[in-house]
Symmetry: C2
Subunit: 351 residues, 2 copies
Amino acid sequence: MAERLVLSIDGMGGDHAPEIVIEGMQIAAQRLPHLSFLVHGDEAKLAPLLTANAAARAVSEVRHTEAHIGMEVKPSQALRQGRGSSMWNAIAAVEEGQARAIVSAGNTGALMAISMIRLRMVQGVHRPALAARWPAASGGYVVLLDVGANVEADGQQLVEFAIMGEAFQRAVSGKARPSVALLNVGAEDQKGHEEIKGAARLIRAAGVEMDFRGFAEGDDIAKGTFDVIVTDGFTGNIALKSGEGAARLVAGLLREALTSSLMAKLGALIAYPALKKLRQRMDPSNFNGAVFLGLNGLVVKSHGGTNAMGFAAAIEVAALMAQSHYREEIASNLARLGSAQAPAAQQQDAG
Amino acid sequence: MAERLVLSIDGMGGDHAPEIVIEGMQIAAQRLPHLSFLVHGDEAKLAPLLTANAAARAVSEVRHTEAHIGMEVKPSQALRQGRGSSMWNAIAAVEEGQARAIVSAGNTGALMAISMIRLRMVQGVHRPALAARWPAASGGYVVLLDVGANVEADGQQLVEFAIMGEAFQRAVSGKARPSVALLNVGAEDQKGHEEIKGAARLIRAAGVEMDFRGFAEGDDIAKGTFDVIVTDGFTGNIALKSGEGAARLVAGLLREALTSSLMAKLGALIAYPALKKLRQRMDPSNFNGAVFLGLNGLVVKSHGGTNAMGFAAAIEVAALMAQSHYREEIASNLARLGSAQAPAAQQQDAG
């Protein structure tokens, strides 16, 4: 029998926990029969849900916790008071080697703060990054990072993000050689912030092993021009939310249009199978599961408001990452970057 | 007879000039009979187009130019070699008081560089900003600025952008008291860059006269939560293009879905009037016409690839701005900001 892949689940995190968490585990367990779960949370609440979801129950072990961290708790508060909560213990299980990844739909700031303290950063990474997936016109999806772990990033950090994002795209999509670009306000070399121009020079100078294509613009995200688009967490968060907002706007206006008259309703009814396929393709659940990259341990953040399908997608991301060569790949590229940086730093000291 | 409003038109700027320029003038002249145009460009090309568009011809005076600035010319090159071109002369007509505003679909960088040199900045403004409009779910539109005039902005400049954007929204939409927010990665006061937090403090401390609401997130742009959203030109450009890309993605997938089968095509045919209304509502032409704010003279930038309807919309923006109290309004708010800044600067010098 093949080795089971154990994932650690924050049973109490998210707007609709624990219900959608257990239902998401049920879907994931049916799709990926080699998974097992350590579920952290209130046993009295989890037990009846597991009873109703037999596939999840068959591969789950519940670890009871009394407390859980609310969605409004600040990171500093979570660090002081979060010990023993479902999120904390779920992360600790990864730290202690009992599970290969944690999946949580809970408080993003708390998840990041506790993960950084407990799991610490991979050697050679200065700051972790949050990587999200976005559906592309070309099919498949684009990896966008950082979407909010840090508000700023210097050139060196952007290169680290590029290295991690490229390995993430490969781990999850199976693309052998994802293309990578830096998000900018124009494709020309002289445009943009000094940090971005520095990052482009550094990727080329360091001989980082990737298909680096230069600069991307905002509309390249949805176009799918590149497989990985790299930016700082401030810009990435705003780009992602601007895109989500615009997509929701068009979808909402479409819904409004197709219910605006009897004829419109009739047309929509006749076109229903095609419209349903469209809705499925754009469903955010498909792309749920952002990953904190750069930590000694896999941390997957599900959207707080997701449904069971979305939570299952986040579990799948965790499984794909855990089975991949992500760690070895980023280690070798970070080493290239480190050796390119060392002489540059000496030069700077001398200059 | 009421005084005519004279606008200066770059007849040769844009991907489809001079055709769509003259056709756009025709539409605008029919809608707004008090307009007159000074059209700068190649008379041999403009004359037959004006003959075909009688309403535009009746209110136009052609100013012949031999040269025009190509879309790929760099700003520095445009400054050195652009003198005597259609764009240059169109701007000069505003500088010399012959026209109240210039409208160009030409090279953005060149338009900005020449405008800054010829028209100079309004007293109290450190950098101009490019303001764009975005359709909002709530109806109407959101003003987003800066969308690309500068890659960076400090707190003081963000406040200047807020002052100019608020007056722009009022001038164009007629809203008496537009709400204003700063684009950020969260609504909480402790989040975001130091520049943004400083701008929020400064707006409150300076007693700037506006309905300031604090922070907006990326999805607030399309939601229309606020009337004016303020950010630096790097972030604004990326937010705008990310949103445009996402909207185009959904529209493209919808088109694909509604042509994917015979039933889908039939449904789309029956729902055609409603779908047509949707398309009209989302048509970028409606929102064409970005404005360079902060110069001694009105400069309206039409999208380079726009159609005649879009160019007419840009002309309308120029007319509304020219008829408004925009200049007086920003002058009084900039004065408030100036007096709040003076003691702060002294304090800083002493500290």
